[in-house]
């Protein structure tokens, strides 16, 4: 339902961050996006959701279509109305509002109050930690708490597609587990996911299909379970050695082999 055709993105008219990226996302699927720092993952999400403009960036070539209609020239709020929500990186909560107000704003398109209430309860049951923080001012919550709130806020809108940037960022192990539980519940309920994730083990666990991004280009893609077996992905994203066991961070040599895909 979401397609990127040869998308190029430039920032400030000079920095070319995406150099022709094509991907596609089918309904009900979860697609994961892996890649090193600065590879362009967040840029892809921004391009899709129309928030590029606020950083002086633009889609300078190619097209992004949602259910067949091009969306790369739309305003961010319009894209949301078509059913795609982007959970941005950087823990951008509405800082002066309480956690609950954040959630209500997240569900601002819900027509009636009863439904809004239902959705709030739904979020609170899935993430009981948030229920305890209800009346806390969002700006004062801890990093992880804010991250949870963002996910809850996206859920409030019940979008068709959630494009989510590093959901596990800053979450404690137990919490990552819980969040992925929630995400897979949503997936079962039919939500489509576009997932950027550095915690590749978790990400690939949820994903059906994955792309590896390097330097603004897609360098590798495939079914998630296949990719999880790929030697390079194992080493560089999952952190396991060829022999299958995790190596210690203490043993990292001072000079080490780096993998750069050609592209």
């Amino acid at each position: 339902m979401l397609e990127l055709h040869n998308v190029e993105v430039t920032y400030s008219d000079v920095i070319l961050a995406l150099k022709g990226v094509s991907l596609s996302l089918r309904e009900g699927q979860c697609v994961a996006l892996l890649g090193g720092n600065g590879a362009g993952k967040s840029t892809i999400l921004k391009a899709i959701s129309g928030t590029l403009k606020s950083e002086d960036g633009k889609v300078s070539a190619g097209a992004i279509t949602l259910e067949g209609t091009p969306i790369h020239n739309l305003e961010a709020s319009e894209v949301v109305r078509r059913g795609l929500i982007h959970v941005m990186e950087g823990r951008r909560v509405l800082r002066h509002m309480t956690a609950e107000q954040n959630l209500i704003v997240g569900g601002h398109m819900v027509p009636d109050r009863a439904e809004l209430k239902r959705r709030l309860d739904h979020v609170y049951t899935l993430m009981p930690r948030l229920a305890n923080l209800k009346s806390r001012t969002a700006g004062f919550m801890s990093g992880g708490e804010q991250q949870l709130l963002l996910i809850g806020r996206a859920m409030m809108a019940r979008p068709k597609i959630i494009a989510i940037d590093e959901p596990s960022l800053g979450l404690a192990p137990l919490m990552i587990h819980d969040v992925y539980e929630v995400l897979s519940r949503l997936k079962e309920e039919g939500t489509t996911f576009f997932l950027v994730e550095q915690n590749s083990a978790a990400g690939l666990g949820l994903a059906d299909y994955a792309y590896v991004l390097e330097n603004g280009r897609v360098v590798l893609d495939g079914r998630a379970d296949k990719l999880a077996q790929n030697e390079d992905v194992k080493e560089f994203y999952l952190g396991v050695t060829a022999s299958g066991e995790r190596k210690s961070y203490r043993d990292v040599k001072h000079y080490r082999r780096r993998k750069r895909w050609l592209g």
Binding site: T10, S12, D13, V14, L16, K19, G216
Partner: protein, 350 residues
């Protein structure tokens, strides 16, 4: 940024302002033209340049305070007024040379600015910007209500001409060199300040004052310093103004003037000394064109009536400023930077 192929070979070279031979040459040429200006252009242009130099000093100060340190300041005209009054009264009462009165004017304004800067330790953002308007009101009130033997009250102060080795600096030409000399020093100094640890501390405080504090920067002091330096520039500009007009009164330093200084740095581009200079140039030129062309239009298109033409000119001035802000919200300097960097990488976009 340099064009491809030119690389600095030492850190010293890397921080140089003038980096290529071409740049050096054009700078020398530029300075030569400025020095020769009174012989090249008519007195009207020289007079415009005089006012531009003064505005440049004031605007560069505002740029340091607002563009670099992020402390929006709507009291710059008042700070300028403090400088102008200081220079005027010193010159009138003590007969000190401008070589002393102008720096003292700067210091007096700096003290006044510093007092407002101290509030920046607590008040932030728009709140701070708007409290600086109070500087404007307090300055105005103080001048008019302090005993008139101090600041002349509503009478204003008449300033004797600046003299150097017994020569009176009264003609446009002579004044031109005074203004150019002071403005050049101040602008060069501004480059020095913003490239130093102070300039970086200013930007740090602007971008993230929490992190700045944790880097060991005393945030409150840095903000107050930004005001101090900005006001120092305003004060020096005010001192020059006193010697140019040779009469100072409170109504020469209004909130509206402050707004125009802000407009200058916005049009030129926030956070760039050159941007401030560009802004001064652009806005003053527009103003002068309007003042010059206006009467001609009014004369030739008589049926319009003079008032319409001139009101229209105000619309144009406001419109141009608004247009600049809409089309290039980051200022002309930003556009130039982008042009430069695309020229640097042309024809390879990556």
């Amino acid at each position: 940024m340099d064009p491809s192929g030119i690389f600095a070979t030492s850190y010293r070279a890397d921080r140089r302002l003038v980096r290529t031979r071409w740049q050096a040459l054009s700078l020398i040429l530029f300075i030569a033209v400025l020095l020769a200006a009174p012989y090249l252009v008519g007195p009207r242009i020289v007079a415009i340049l005089n006012i531009m130099y003064i505005s440049a000093v004031v605007a560069v100060g505002l740029q340091i305070c607002t563009g670099y340190a992020g402390q929006i300041n709507l009291g710059q005209a008042a700070f300028m007024g403090v400088g102008a009054y200081t220079a005027a009264i010193l010159a009138e009462k003590t007969g000190l040379s401008f070589l002393l009165t102008i720096p003292i004017a700067g210091f007096a304004a700096a003290v006044f600015g510093f007092l407002f800067g101290l509030t920046a330790a607590r008040i932030k953002g728009f709140y701070l910007a708007l409290t600086t308007i109070a500087a404007q009101f307090i300055f105005h009130f103080a001048v008019l209500n302090l005993p008139s033997s101090w600041l002349g009250g509503s009478n204003g102060v008449t300033v004797p001409p600046a003299t150097l080795f017994g020569l009176r600096i009264v003609s446009e030409g002579a004044q031109y060199y005074l203004m150019l000399f002071v403005a050049a020093i101040m602008v060069a100094g501004a480059f020095g300040i913003v490239r130093s640890r102070f300039g970086r501390a200013f930007v740090a405080v602007r971008d993230d004052d929490v992190a700045a504090g944790i880097m060991g920067i005393n945030v409150a002091a840095t903000k107050a310093n930004a005001f101090l330096i900005g006001a120092f520039y305003a004060g020096v500009g005010g001192g020059l103004w006193a010697y140019l007009i040779r009469f100072v009164g409170v109504d020469q330093f209004t909130l509206f003037n402050s707004v125009f200084f802000i407009a200058m740095i916005i049009v030129g581009g926030m956070g760039s000394i050159v941007g401030a200079l560009i802004g001064v140039f652009v806005i003053r030129v527009i103003q002068e064109i309007i003042a010059t062309v206006g009467p001609n239009i009014a004369e030739s298109v008589t049926f319009l009536g003079g008032d319409i033409v001139f009101a229209g000119m105000n619309v144009i001035l406001g419109g141009v400023i608004a247009l600049f802000m809409i089309l290039e919200p980051k200022g002309l300097m930003h556009r130039w930077t982008i042009l430069k960097s695309s020229y640097r990488i042309w024809p390879f976009p990556y």
